[in-house]
C-alpha cells in the first residue's frame, strides 16, 4: 500500500478500547485507506523499530491519547501513545521533504483535556470523541475531508455498514467453526483482514 493511502494508528489495543478501535479501523478501510498498526507481540527494541518504519511509511496518522492514564488505581500512566505521537511529529519535522507532508489527527475523550497532560501539542489537529464510536467516525471523516477536499460517505452510512459487518462476521465465523470466545477475542490484525474482505465483497 502506498505512502499516500497509509494511516498509522497509535492507540491502545486492550479490551476497554475495542469498542472504539474496531469502528475506527473499519472506517479507515471503508474510506479507502489502509490502517497500519504495530504488532503488540514484538519485543521492545523490535517494536520501536517497527513503529518508526510504520510512521515513516504512512502519510497519515491517528493518535488517540485518551487512554494516557493508569488502567488501574495505583498503576503508572501509560506513556506509549504520547511517545509514538512524539516520534510522528519528529518524523514530520526532521524527516525528508516527503515526510513534511505527513498529517496527524490527535483524538481524546474530552475537549481540551490534552492541555492538562501534554500542552505542547496545541496547534495540532486535536478532536474529541466522547468515547462514542459515531462521534469518532465523524471526526475522522471530517479530518479526511478537510485534508483531501473531496466527498466521502456520510457518518450514518459508515456506521450502518459497520453494524451490518458486525452481524455478518458473527455468522461467517460461526460457519467457519469459530467458537463464541474466539469470535469475541479476534486479534486486531485478524479484524482488519476480515473487514477488508467484507468491504471488498460488499456488492455480492
Amino acid at each position: 500500500m502506498s505512502f499516500e493511502r497509509s494511516v498509522f494508528i497509535n492507540c491502545p489495543f486492550d479490551d476497554n478500547y475495542r469498542h472504539l478501535l474496531q469502528p475506527l479501523l473499519f472506517s479507515i478501510l471503508y474510506l479507502g485507506f489502509e490502517p497500519k498498526i504495530a504488532s503488540t507481540i514484538s519485543s521492545g527494541n523490535i517494536r520501536v523499530q517497527e513503529i518508526k518504519k510504520l510512521i515513516k511509511d504512512s502519510q497519515y496518522s491517528i493518535h488517540d491519547i485518551s487512554r494516557c492514564k493508569p488502567l488501574f488505581a495505583g498503576d503508572m500512566p501509560r506513556f506509549n501513545m504520547p511517545f509514538e505521537l512524539g516520534l510522528d511529529i519528529g518524523c514530520q519535522t526532521y524527516g525528508s521533504r516527503k515526510l513534511n507532508d505527513k498529517k496527524c489527527l490527535i483524538l481524546e475523550t474530552e475537549k481540551y483535556h490534552y492541555q492538562k497532560v501534554i500542552s505542547d501539542i496545541s496547534g495540532q489537529d486535536i478532536k474529541e470523541h466522547d468515547d462514542n464510536p459515531q462521534k469518532l467516525i465523524s471526526q475522522v471523516r471530517e479530518w479526511f475531508i478537510g485534508l483531501l477536499n473531496m466527498r466521502l460517505p456520510g457518518v450514518e452510512m459508515i456506521f450502518a455498514q459497520y453494524n451490518d459487518f458486525t452481524f455478518d462476521i458473527i455468522q461467517d465465523l460461526a460457519v467457519e467453526g469459530f467458537s463464541q470466545k474466539e469470535r469475541d477475542s479476534l486479534s486486531t490484525t485478524e479484524f482488519i483482514m476480515l473487514a477488508k474482505e467484507w468491504i471488498l465483497n460488499i456488492d455480492i
Binding site: Q134, F159, A160, D164, F167, D168, D172, V175, E176, I204
Partner: protein
Amino acid sequence: MAERKEIKPGSNILKLVAQSAASKSNHVHVISRGNKWIVRRNKASRALRIFNTIDEAIENATLYVNTGKAVFAVVHDRNGMVTEKITA
C-alpha cells in the same frame, strides 16, 4: 443471463457464500443514530423508521418479523455490537 463472479485463488468459498446469503436475506437491523434509534433493512442506506428509544425501535422491528415483512431482526448496541437476534 446469470452473472458469474470469479473466485480468486485463496478466497474462502464458505465465507463468500455466507456473505452472499446474508446480503440477500430479508432482515432488519436496530441501530443507534446519534441520540435516536433506527430500524433499517439489511444493506439499505435509509432508515425505515426513527425512534427516540431502543425499546420502541425493537418493538417496531419485532412487528416486521411477526408480520412476515422480515425473516429476523438484529439488535445492535450503541457501539454497533450485536446484542440480540429476534426471530418469529
